[in-house]
Symmetry: C2
Subunit: 463 residues, 2 copies
């Protein structure tokens, strides 16, 4: 039976997806500045045999709603927000198997220093690091970083393609596998004939120099992508090893997944090398009734204003300035257009309006939760895997950390009883764990490095 993979979705901030829940008496998200909070979370997730903790990030402030950042600041909607990479080393020191998928925006850091950061993390975690490739979507971020505004949507993907090529060359091609000798007697740490400079002078990036890090366990970190536009899906099919898709009707997601796997196949990749995780929110308790009561309790703390501030920035539309029942149409930019199209595709039965958006809010976010006792939730998760051909889930936090401990204590044992969830980790790096056997999706076990069919593999050291 196909093994369901679980990832936690979190962010170095107070309000992540479900806005307002920090006000719940049992919520601990205001402890995000405390290392012990993160170390405890990592240990909890490893106890639950989660594949990974996925850390979102954003570099700007949400200032579309009401034309300014006030609502976001008041409700702590992804602001304040700390650097996600700096959470990983302490969590890695406290765990052995848990993977870490970290979001990093390639628009604002040169490939040379970014490649070093990720190689350093891959070394320090023993090969448990992944990179969620984003190009950003906020004008506020572009302005904060000294630009007049962000690049156009498709230009950002052209930049991303060039960036990937540079980092592949640094990670895969600068140091030969046998470059490091550590020969104490001969006094040779590395053989200079097996280390070479990368030279790249492209339209967006330039670099000239050897990668500063010796080869790390995975070299290229496991690559994550969540782009949902057509261009984003093509990018994901080419580069991603893990793809996050938003929820919606299962047949819609099934078509999206089939499309992604087909695109990957057409690019010469094994479609099973693409792991697809669907964003989900689970509210579980001992029984269905208790779970519904828990959901109702959470709902009392949800912030509609926070959710609107978040949605306005995501879609690039100020909902405060929209009439309640006017259809929401694209306008400003390609990014907005594709966001609207995706929003529409997820709910093809509805015209998106402000009223519709607010009515669709649940727990202060746009993800409709899966609510029930252990059997109900397990049924629904398994139906998703069966009907939409996804590999697992990325679970958004609600009231934290109990949203994760509930799943671990109630849902994981139920899935294990059904043979749908591992009972121990596979040894090795994150990449090896993700291709572990026992997965009916047809993938075969992979080593710690990129498979030969991945575009990054073409940048490996050649004599």
């Amino acid at each position: 039976m196909k093994q369901i993979r679980l990832n936690a979705f979190d962010m170095n901030c107070v309000g992540h997806i479900h806005q307002g829940l920090w006000r719940h008496p049992r919520d601990r998200s205001t402890q995000y500045t405390d290392l012990a909070h993160w170390v405890d979370l990592a240990r909890t997730l490893e106890r639950g045999l989660f594949d990974g903790l996925f850390l979102a990030d954003v570099l700007g402030v949400y200032d579309v709603y009401q034309g300014g950042p006030d609502a976001a600041v008041r409700a702590a909607v992804q602001v304040p927000v700390g650097d996600p990479l700096l959470l990983v080393p302490a969590m890695a020191a406290a765990t052995t198997h848990l993977g870490f998928g970290v979001t990093a925006n390639l628009s604002y850091e040169p490939p040379y220093t970014f490649a070093r950061r990720m190689s350093t993390l891959d070394h320090l975690t023993g090969g448990r690091v992944g990179w969620n490739i984003v190009t950003g979507y906020l004008d506020s971020a572009a302005r904060a970083l000294g630009l007049d505004g962000q690049a156009a949507h498709d230009d950002r993907y052209a930049m991303a393609e060039e960036y990937m090529d540079v980092v592949y060359r640094l990670w895969e091609g600068s140091w030969a596998d046998d470059a490091v000798r550590r020969d104490r007697a001969a006094g040779v740490y590395a053989d200079p004939a097996r280390v070479r400079a990368i030279r790249h002078h492209g339209p967006h990036f330039r670099t000239e120099g050897a990668h500063l890090c010796e080869p790390s366990p995975q070299r290229t970190p496991v690559l994550y992508q969540a782009g949902s536009s057509d261009r984003g899906r093509r990018f994901a099919a080419a580069h991603a090893e893990c793809v996050f898709v938003n929820g919606g009707p299962k047949p819609h997601v099934a078509r999206l997944v089939a499309d992604l796997r087909g695109l990957a196949r057409s690019l010469g990749r094994d479609p099973a090398d693409l792991k697809v995780f669907v964003g989900a929110t689970v509210v579980v308790a001992e029984t269905d009734a208790l779970a519904q009561a828990k959901r109702a309790d959470y709902e009392r703390y949800a912030s509609v204003e926070g959710a609107l501030a978040h949605a306005s920035a995501s879609l690039g539309i100020d909902f405060a300035a929209q009439d309640w029942d006017d259809p929401i149409r694209a306008g400003q930019s390609q990014a907005v257009t594709s966001n609207i199209e995706n929003q529409a595709a997820r709910r093809p039965d509805k015209v998106l309006t402000r009223r519709g958006l607010v009515e669709g809010l649940s727990l202060g976010g746009r993800q409709v939760p899966i609510v029930g006792g252990p059997a109900t939730v397990a049924d629904e998760l398994m139906a998703w895997v069966e009907e939409a051909d996804v590999d697992g889930f990325i679970l958004a936090r609600t009231v934290t950390p109990e949203c994760f401990t509930d799943v671990i204590d109630l849902v994981v044992p139920e899935l294990q009883r059904r043979g749908a969830y591992k009972t121990a980790y596979t040894p090795g790096t994150l990449r090896e764990k993700l291709s572990a056997p026992g997965d009916r999706s047809g993938g075969s076990p992979r080593g710690p490095r990129l498979p030969d069919t991945h575009p990054g593999a073409s940048r490996r050291w050649r004599p």
Copy 2:
């Protein structure tokens, strides 16, 4: 009696200051990619009541010697080298008091994202982070980061002044002290009226946006600087709270320290707010004779080629292309000129030649070690403090970690017996610890934030 402060000097690499010693059978520097190595080191230093662990960094490869990087790669002279910031969170999670001074080059990262990184670290460490401000000095780094070459020396300091002003505004002025309410009942995490955007459009940097982090314990991290040119000293006197100076004859260092403190006073600062640490290498054993034997044992593993590769890059002169007895003169750049001048000033009795440099090498580095039993070493450290008015030392590693455990087990107890070393940490942030009473240098205890006389304090939130 003035309390001597000790800091460890290390780097996320194999060969730091004393080249070749990784070949010593007891040396563990090749474990630099292992988190446990760093966690153990941090615990060791905290056991020894060290004020801080100072982490160096460099972004390029040393490619001046013999016109290429081969010697540096072979001897692992600061290459490979990992990102230093990523070591801190795991060490912070394993300790309570130890401070972390991290080198970061301001030439290659926008102030907006860098300010977030440091605020994140200051939060996660509970206010134990410092920043060693560098502008870089390697053309190889500039090329790797996409430039034709580095900016001229004085231009880099003009950039640095502008950069400091932007980060001060982000750290000190974007969020009022009372901005964060965490009011669960009212649903107000932060008061938007008490958070404001920073706008800066200068010749080198632009930003427009609120700082992404809420105020951290220290806001501005403790500022370290090691510039030794005239311009560098003026920068240090204005901004630095801790200054590192190289060794040399004590009277020369005494003049330098007096000059620094005088400059600080002329800028309206309390000279005692400037802590000065002199770079030192200590080889200690139970007796003087055993220490000399230990030094001789270490010396067998030193790498002259590695030391020359390091010195060639530091001074911008290819020693392989110099005649043995020709005086070494400045040529290429302002940076080289000031390096030579500083080198000459440290040894005013000698004309610097290639032969002189090689003869002056000790343990594969240019720092002449302090060698002896506990009393001999303690005498010398106390003489430094007495004669040169320094506040303590930054101890370079030789054979690691025994170079630090030796000092902790042998020198620290001796200094404590003499009343010259604390017997417990002062509570509070790194900044508070650095101004702890019992220090005859005349400083008074400071809070966790910059003192009012510091230029960054002028950027505090004002109504």
